[in-house]
Symmetry: C2
Subunit: 254 residues, 2 copies
C-alpha cells in the first residue's frame, strides 16, 4: 500500500483523485488546496486542508498545480521524507527542491472537466533520480495505466511539444474547419468521419505516406483558390506556412 | 437498375468500383482508362477500353480523373444522353459541358490505396441541375453510403477547403509531432491515444471549448521554450502562426 497526498485542486488533481480512489494499492490520505471551495470535489478524502502547516507524512506527494507555481509550492515539502513529484510535461525535474527525493509523474493526455479521462489508456511518463523511487512511481503508474514510459526531463519537454502539435494545434485546425463549414452553411459533422479516419490512420501507417492534398500534388490553382476563399489573414498565413512545409517535406519546392 | 460507366483508373475510380461492384442496384458496364495496364484492377468488369470511340450507352458516367483533366475528358461525353458527373471537391459542376445532363458525386474522404475505404460512413456530396438527376444521384449515393448531402458548387468548394484543413493539414501536424518524437528518441505511438482522443472530442463537443495548451493560457515562457526547441524555420513559423491564431480566436492578444 502506497500512501499519497495530492496537492492542487484543478483538472489534473481531480482526475488523478478519481482514478486513484478506486485502486486498492494506493491510499490518498490528504488533499491540499488553497481555496476551501475548490476542495469540495475531494470531500470523500478523510483529510483536506488549505494550510501547508498540516501536511501529513506520506510515501508520495503529487504536486498537480500550474507550471508556474510548482517551484514555490514544492518548497513546503523540502523537509519531507516522501517522494515529491510534479505532473508537468514542460517543467524539468530540477524545478523541485534538491533536498527531497524528487520525480515526475506526467499523464500524457489532454485533461479537461468536460470529458472524463480514462486513465487506462493514458501513457504515464515517469522520471526519478533513484532506482527505488522509480519502483514507487512505476507501481503508482501501473495501478492506473497500461502504458508507462521512463523519460528524462529533456525527452519529456520534446514529447510535450509534440503533444502541443497533435492536440492543441490540431484542435485549432478543426476549429478553422468548423468556421469554414459555418460559412458554407453545412454542418461541421459532415467532417466527422474524415477527422476520425485521419487520426486512426496516423496511429497505424506512417504519416509521411498518408499525406495527400493540393500542396503535395503542387496543385497551384487549387491552392490559389483556397487562399482567396479564406477570410482572415491568420487563416491565409496558416494555409501558406503548412502548405509550404508539406512541399518542402516532400521535396516539391514552391 | 442503374447502368454506370467509370472513367479513370486512379484511387477514386478503384474504390468506387469495389464499393459499387457489390451493389445489385447498380451495374458497372464499362471502365475507360488511357493506360491498358492500369485497367488490370478492373478486369472483372466485362468491358474495359482505352479508347473513347467505344463508349457504351449508360445511365451514368462517373468521371474520376485528376481535377485538371475533367474538362477535357468530359468533352468525349458531350453527345451522351446519360448523366455525366465528376467526383471532385474543388471543381464546379460547370466544368462539365453544358450540353449534357451534368452533376457531381463527391465522396468526402481521403482515398488512398493503402487503406480500404469503407464507403458506408463516407458522406457523399451530390449536385445536379434537374430534380430527376438528383433522384438518380441520390439512389446511387444511398446504395453505397449512409450519409448523402446535397451541395452547390460554392458550398462544396468550401467544404473541400475545410477538408484540406482537417485532413491534409492535420496529417502534416502529426508528421511534425512524429519528427519531434524521433528527436526525443521516444516512439510516436506514445501520442496515439492523444491523437484519437483529440479527434473524437472534435466530433462530440464544440472544438472552441476543447482548446487547451500554452497559447490559450498565454504561457509565454513555455511558448518561447518551444520555439527554441524547434529545429527548422518552417516548424517555428507553423508554431507561431497557429499560436497567434489561437490567441486571437480566444481573445488574448499577444
Amino acid at each position: 500500500m502506497i500512501t499519497m497526498v495530492i496537492v492542487g485542486t484543478g483538472n489534473v488533481a481531480q482526475q488523478l483523485f478519481t482514478a486513484i480512489a478506486k485502486k486498492k494499492e494506493i491510499n490518498i490520505i490528504q488533499v491540499i488546496g488553497r481555496d476551501e471551495n475548490k476542495l469540495i470535489p475531494f470531500n470523500n478524502c478523510p483529510n483536506t486542508v488549505t494550510n501547508y502547516e498540516y501536511i501529513l507524512e506520506s510515501d508520495v506527494y503529487i504536486i498537480a498545480v500550474n507550471d508556474d507555481s510548482i517551484g514555490a509550492v514544492s518548497q513546503h515539502f523540502k523537509n519531507k521524507r516522501g517522494l515529491v513529484v510534479h505532473t508537468s510535461g514542460s517543467m524539468p525535474l530540477s524545478v523541485l527542491p534538491p533536498s527531497v527525493r524528487r520525480g515526475v509523474f506526467y499523464p500524457l493526455q489532454t485533461i479537461s472537466k468536460e470529458r472524463k479521462t480514462d486513465f487506462d489508456v493514458v501513457p504515464i511518463c515517469i522520471e526519478a533520480e533513484k532506482s527505488e523511487d522509480y519502483k514507487v512511481l512505476r507501481k503508482l503508474a501501473n495501478a492506473i495505466s497500461d502504458q508507462v514510459q521512463i523519460m528524462t526531463s529533456d525527452q519529456r519537454k520534446l514529447v510535450h511539444l509534440a503533444a502541443v502539435f497533435v492536440n492543441n494545434f490540431t484542435n485549432h485546425i478543426y476549429h478553422i474547419g468548423n468556421e469554414i463549414c459555418n460559412e458554407a452553411g453545412v454542418p461541421f459533422t459532415i467532417l466527422n468521419q474524415l477527422i476520425l479516419e485521419t487520426a486512426k490512420k496516423a496511429t497505424h501507417t506512417p504519416v509521411l505516406n498518408a499525406q495527400t492534398g493540393p500542396a503535395i500534388r503542387n496543385d497551384k490553382l487549387t491552392m490559389q483558390q483556397h487562399l482567396e476563399l479564406l477570410d482572415t489573414k491568420d487563416y491565409k498565413d496558416i494555409y501558406s506556412v503548412i502548405s509550404n512545409s508539406i512541399q518542402k517535406t516532400h521535396g516539391n519546392k514552391l
